[in-house]
Amino acid sequence: MAPPAPAPGPSGASGPSTPPAATKAAPARASLLSHSLAKPILALAALLVLDIIFIPGFLSLEIKDGHLYGPLIDILNRAAPLMLAALGMTLVIATRGIDISVGAVVALSGTVAAMLIGGTMVINNGQPEYVANTPMPLALAAALGIAILCGAWNGVLVAGLKLQPIVATLILMVAGRGLAQLFTDGQIVTVYYEPFFFLGSGYLLGLPFSLWVVAAVLLVVGLLLKKTALGLFIQSVGINPVAARLAGIRTATLIFFTYVFCSTCAGMAGLMISSNIKSADANNAGLLLELDAILAVTLGGTSLAGGKFSLVGSMIGALIIQTLTWTIYSLGVPPEVNMVVKAIVVFIVCLSQSTGFQKLWKGRK
């Protein structure tokens, strides 16, 4: 596939004399294709092209009440919780970990928020009006606090007790939903308080508010990783934890905080989901979200073996999953097919990452 690299030596030695245009363009194209984001972007583009061809009005955007509406906005809006979960999962996976308790944390934080806010009807000036049971900022803080606690619990088990990440987070995955159901007595909690709905279905400057939240988190984390040594530290822990520790990096603290961050993101996703559906269902909220998040991260080119990661890649991965889901729904294919398609995508992505398969593929040619 890759075009032959220009012969080293002579052309380099000839210094500033301009090489033929062809040899100059070829490596540029090669590096573009071999960029880690090339594959996910191409996959997303292919999906979008498919949609443009088969779904009439896919690109249509209209402005109603100063808000943008359209299939593209819809996909972005629905992808927001998954994007948040994938952001947190990226850092955990970058340190060679995995967090399968994300769905349970979504259920817990959504439940806590919904229970604390609830909504009681009062008659104000003859108008029925709903007021929150607990002031909303307090309720949101409590929900996020629970999520942070969950993350700290996972972090202590993984970084402190040195349990395998999958086992450590399995504990919360099993018990978390049980706890959420204990809080709600097994009932679905409905929220009636208007301002809470803004989080999941409100608009800011014409765009869904949830997108702004995702963008803000992405920006803050992205800057932290790029502008400080944090990104480098996380990468080195993922590549070789022992070497990283010997080099003076506080690996345990670092790993602890990636789990806290992951759970916090999951908590925010839980708030978004429960705000969007105006209720919290401890049994079904965020069900299998951890798997979608892991899938998004893998699709985005992050290696499950740790060390190599891309936040933007994970965002694209999440968009691929949501676009795929959306496409399947709107093509009129039974939504159940979704899982089969996802499974096949995972198989293909894993195989394309495996060195064994690459050798087999090259050997054939």
């Binding site: 395998q164 504990i171 919360l172 995955m173 979704n338 398969f357």
Partner: protein, 316 residues
């Protein structure tokens, strides 16, 4: 202290304590039939936990078992309604489970993919295939399946179902194979250290693929037993069973890093989970979601104990 029998002993003591607590608190808790019902209600889980035990001993994990169970109930119900012979149907779904597992094992071994992610995809695939067959639950009215769900086999002072008998037979064979066959020893060797197993000249490929094939077979057999129990095929059957099976294996004293533990631990693990459920059912005031919380707590306890024990054995 760190010998495999120690953690297994802890599980057995835990089981005895749980049973004694139940017997002390609730009248009739320790009656023979209540104990046998533990086996009857959890026959499918026991079979799956046996398969999972092998996978975990070999240092892997299989997240697809719950979905494969659901898929086999679905295929069985579908074929039975199409008028197929029930014995042929059972043979087909068992073979299907083994092939499904072997396929995952081959991907894991030959392409060095993580078992976690491959079986995760397998989980999606199997659940998705369920819904391709039907979104609704399909009732099974086949005489053989109905007979299997209603027959009572006399067993020490009570009765067990044919499913429980099959599960116990599978357990017995699996225990024997783990101790007495080359395959069983190979599983322990690979779980202990795959590199050394390979250098010792063990057929790592065959053992590893075999382990996943066996787990798939057990999942399919669990599906047949579950179909006996529920007399229906449904895509939502046994959601989260893979977690119960992993929990049972861990509580049964097997180390999740592989190579350490007993296949028999699956029985004690399943019985502990079953006893907790029965305790909650007898209490009547506790909600069923307490089961999940207690299982989570037990998982935590056992993981920490295992961690401390292995840390100590490394130091000494």
């Amino acid at each position: 202290m760190s010998a495999p029998w120690f953690t297994s002993l802890v599980t057995v003591i835990l089981l005895v304590v749980l049973l004694a607590a139940g017997g002390g608190a609730y009248e009739g808790f320790l009656s023979g039939q209540v104990m046998l019902n533990l086996l009857i209600d959890n026959a499918h889980l026991l079979v799956i936990a046996v398969g999972m035990g092998y996978v975990i001993l070999a240092g892997g994990i299989d997240l697809s078992v719950g979905s494969v169970l659901a898929l086999t109930t679905m295929i069985a119900a579908w074929l039975l309604n199409a008028g197929w012979n029930p014995l042929a149907v059972i043979a087909i779904v068992l073979a299907f489970g083994a092939v499904f597992g072997a396929f995952q094992g081959a991907l894991i071994h030959y392409f060095q993919l993580q078992p976690f992610i491959v079986t995760l995809a397998g989980m999606f695939l199997a659940r998705g295939l369920c819904y391709l067959i039907s979104i609704e639950s399909i009732t099974i009215e086949d005489p053989l399946f109905v007979a299997a769900s209603q027959t009572q086999i006399p067993f020490i002072g009570g009765f067990i179902s044919p499913s429980a008998a099959i599960a116990l037979a599978v357990l017995a064979v699996a225990i024997w194979a783990s101790r007495r066959t080359a395959f069983g020893r190979g599983v322990y060797a690979i779980g202990g250290n795959e590199q050394s197993a390979l250098m010792m000249g063990l057929d790592v490929a065959r053992t590893k693929i075999g382990v996943y094939a066996f787990s798939g077979f057990c999942a399919a057999l669990g599906g047949v037993l579950f179909a006996f129990y529920m007399l229906s095929g449904y895509g939502q059957h046994a959601q989260g069973t893979e977690l119960d099976a992993i929990a049972a294996v861990v509580i049964g004293g097997t180390l999740l890093t592989g190579g350490y533990g007993y296949v028999a631990g699956a029985l004690s693990g399943v019985l502990v989970l079953g006893t907790i459920q029965t305790l909650i059912a007898f209490d009547g005031t506790l909600s069923s979601w307490w089961t999940k919380i207690v299982i989570g707590g037990l998982l935590f306890l056992f993981c920490v104990v295992q961690r401390l024990l292995s840390a100590r054995s490394q130091q000494s």
